[in-house]
Symmetry: C2
Subunit: 234 residues, 2 copies
């Protein structure tokens, strides 16, 4: 079994930082840890990597087991290996972040699970180094979203331009001129206008749009630079 003799083996975990958007607020999904140490305290979705699964598979499995969520956008963030990060036993953790539309997954995220959404600005104290992971994930998302159309992963398949703008403003904590915003976003060719309108948000109603998937995948590698002074970011 152990072919490389004399090498020490260690525990490998995966932790998922799950971001969601409900049309108004950016939120973080947390769960109460159900084993010692730190049992009962707020934690990211985490678990150990099993014998014959890849890291991506582990992340997907853990997310499903703890929240019921399946098929969401997941991306490897960073690996945390401080020897003392888990006081119980040395555990290295590969962190992933997920992006999803809260409303779309409301059902999957049923009461069977004890995960809860927290507004990003009002998160409780987290176990171990999970706060650091969240901070790094926020940075990564801002960085990436300034250049790539990644934020669409947080929206429903049908969305309005005012919704999209609200999302950008939430992520970058900024206000954007709506005239310039819609001009630029439409100029990308990423959006397809639908016949239907969303009447929930206003009297007049706003047209729904969907992503042009072909252009989306092509544009994913392109730089977007939607944010005026991204220097402030990192």
């Amino acid at each position: 079994m152990h072919k490389y003799s004399k090498q020490s083996r260690l525990l490998l975990a995966v932790d998922c930082i799950v971001f969601g958007f409900d049309g108004e607020t950016l939120k973080l999904l947390l769960i109460r840890r159900d084993f010692e140490p730190e049992k009962g305290n707020w934690s990211l979705m985490g678990g150990f990597v099993q014998d014959k699964e890849s890291l991506d598979q582990a992340a997907n499995r853990i997310l499903k087991q703890l929240t019921g969520l399946e098929g969401v956008y997941l991306e490897q963030l960073f690996t945390y290996g401080d020897p003392d990060r888990d006081p119980m036993e040395r555990t290295v953790s590969v962190a992933y972040f997920a992006l999803l539309d809260i409303n779309q997954y409301q059902n999957q995220l049923s009461t069977d699970y004890h995960a809860e959404w927290f507004p990003l600005k009002k998160t409780p104290k987290l176990i171990f180094d999970h706060q650091e992971m969240v901070e790094q994930a926020k940075k990564r998302i801002r960085y990436k979203a300034a250049l790539h159309p990644i934020l669409f992963e947080l929206l429903p398949s049908k969305f309005t331009i005012p919704q999209l703008q609200t999302l950008y403003e939430a992520v970058f904590n900024a206000t954007i001129d709506k005239r310039n915003f819609s001009r630029r976003i439409l100029a990308t060719g990423l959006l397809v206008k639908l016949a239907e309108k969303d009447k929930a948000g206003s009297k007049r109603g706003a047209f729904y749009y969907r992503l042009n998937r072909e252009n989306y995948y092509a544009a994913f590698q392109a730089f977007m630079n939607f944010i005026p002074n991204p220097d402030q970011l990192r």
Copy 2:
């Protein structure tokens, strides 16, 4: 010792992708693996993470043990966890990339070690998934260098503007207008002109510059956008 009972433990390795620049060519440092499997074949600098060291410490230690190199720029790249990536025994590997000036470390990289520099375009077949790691590291460096002044890590502390331009052209595989290049690079305020000249490269000689460290660290988070059409990248 094993507090989380019933969890399986695994081997964790670190692999370092070491890039160097000699004033003309971008090169990759490789070593012949000295244990089975794949003994004698070309490999990245790799080794197992030990009991009480962090991942960064492991990367630095491994680099030192295999090449004598110390104090070089190292950054975590990605973690590779395919269950079959090492046919001998499951091993997850955290990849790091390093950037250094080949000439400066010529002595350290003595004949005690069997590491060899290969031009990036003429690398031999590598073991396991190391080729994939190299490709991903190349992408990351281009991506980052298009926005941040990371390439200075590949130059000596004293360098000329033509040398700097050669480096940019090598990394991006492009030709850059030298008049626009020097104008823009000087406008960043990152460079300090020295009195001394480098007469090796030309009859007239080119002035040496050094980094303004203060501005450098400040600018590291800023976007540089030196490359015309970075869309083509990643």
